[in-house]
């Protein structure tokens, strides 16, 4: 056949595309279970980090089962516990939930029993940064008011500026802050540009140069705490 003719060219392109598509589809199918496991492990590591338990991919499953296990449940906007198993609750995709109005969202709660018998409630949060989504896990003490620990992460905030929310130094500031004021009203946490006073009960320092990301964290917390409010007040 004429190698430069139209017929040959079309045939060549078609065969090539079919071969390539088959190979890639096959490989993607084969690797998906492993990739999914990695994502779940990364999520577990994040959740445990919010209660200051460091873990690696090697021991995360064991630690997660020890401290949280199947004590995961979903609450609705009214704070009522839904009938679901732990796996469904764990698999709730916040990137989809966050688009719904507050009252329609499903709110997963991870109940963590530490070695000393203390109970912590870990709430996942998700919102918008400057360039893309930001998310995190907030661990509250048994009073459902004082923050025990936090962890934040982001898709692609500016390195050195907004990306600093993923740093220990930023996350440590939240420890000991409370999200309800003395009157029992939800005030969430302010991320204050220029710095919050050291003894501020509801404020932390924003990141210099990362104003929009800091604002994103503040909005994200307010948004999700309002959603969890009924549950937290129970």
């Amino acid at each position: 056949m004429d190698r430069q003719g139209n017929k040959y060219t079309f045939l060549y392109a078609s065969v090539m595309v079919i071969v390539v598509a088959t190979v890639l589809a096959f490989i993607s199918e084969a690797l998906t279970p492993i990739q999914k496991k990695n994502e779940e492990e990364a999520k577990m590591i994040d959740i445990l980090r919010s209660v200051n338990i460091e873990s690696t991919t090697a021991d995360v499953a064991e630690k997660y089962n020890k401290y949280i296990g199947d004590k995961v449940f979903i609450v609705n906007y009214e704070g009522e516990r839904q009938e679901t198993d732990a796996q469904t609750a764990f698999n709730i995709d916040l990137s989809k939930e966050v688009r719904k109005p507050l009252s329609d969202r499903q709110y997963p709660v991870y109940e963590c029993h530490l070695d000393e018998g203390e109970i912590k409630y870990i709430l996942p949060v998700r919102g918008k940064g400057l360039w893309g989504p930001i998310w995190g896990y907030i661990a509250l003490n048994e009073d459902k008011n004082t923050i025990y620990g936090t962890t934040f992460d982001h898709k692609g905030e500016t390195p050195g500026l907004g990306a600093e929310i993923a740093n220990q130094a930023f996350q440590q500031q939240f420890v000991g802050k409370s999200i309800f004021n003395e009157g029992g009203e939800l005030v969430s946490i302010d991320v204050v540009k220029g710095g919050a006073p050291d003894d501020a009960p509801h404020g932390v320092d924003a990141i210099s140069g990362g104003t929009i990301t800091s604002q994103g964290v503040e909005n994200m917390l307010m948004d999700y705490f309002s959603g969890y409010e009924a549950f937290l007040k129970k």
Binding site: T9, Y12, V23, L24, L31, P159, G160
Partner: protein, 220 residues
Amino acid sequence: MSSEKEPLFSSKNLKLLTTPLGAQNPITVQVLGICSALAVTAKLEPSIVMSLSVVFVLVFSNLIISLLRNTIPSRIRIIVQLTVVASLVILVDQILKAFAYEVSKQLSVFVGLIITNCIIMGRLEAFALGNKPWPSVLDGFGNAAGYGIILVIVGFVRELFGTGNLTLPGIGEIQVIPDVMYEWGYVDNGLMILPPMALITVGIIIWVQRSRNKDLIDVS
């Protein structure tokens, strides 16, 4: 075909492997693939993984294109090359996500951008389309290694002076600069982590290389 077989590593073939490491280095001499060299070299680990990914993609795309070279219709040859490269890159991306999840998160978009790495299309067009598979493999390996060496050097310098640590794949972070130095007042240079310093580091490598090898100096 000549009756006597050329040895696998004849001097001609070896040259294909070694010139891109030095005198024909894709980054410092041909100034190709600079973008990714700036982006992933803030730490040593992603630099190494990126280099290995490029080695894989370039060796195999060179091999595949060289095997197909007599069948490819010349009018769609660029599309064919792109398809081959893109498939290999997707493959690398999927494998990293499955077996090196942490690293794949760090490299994020840059693995995908291997497709646009000028070195790869350059070698396919300039070499693999006109040469036999084995020389093409060597050429691919040589060029990718030449790229990788620079990436690793830049990553090493930036991470060492930027954070005082070095991260190696599979081992993790190692503190290189001892605490005593910090007590004496040594401070990490945070500027090294930012992209401009990658450009300056590459610039210094180019300067050193050209001052040692006068042939490379472009007088025009």
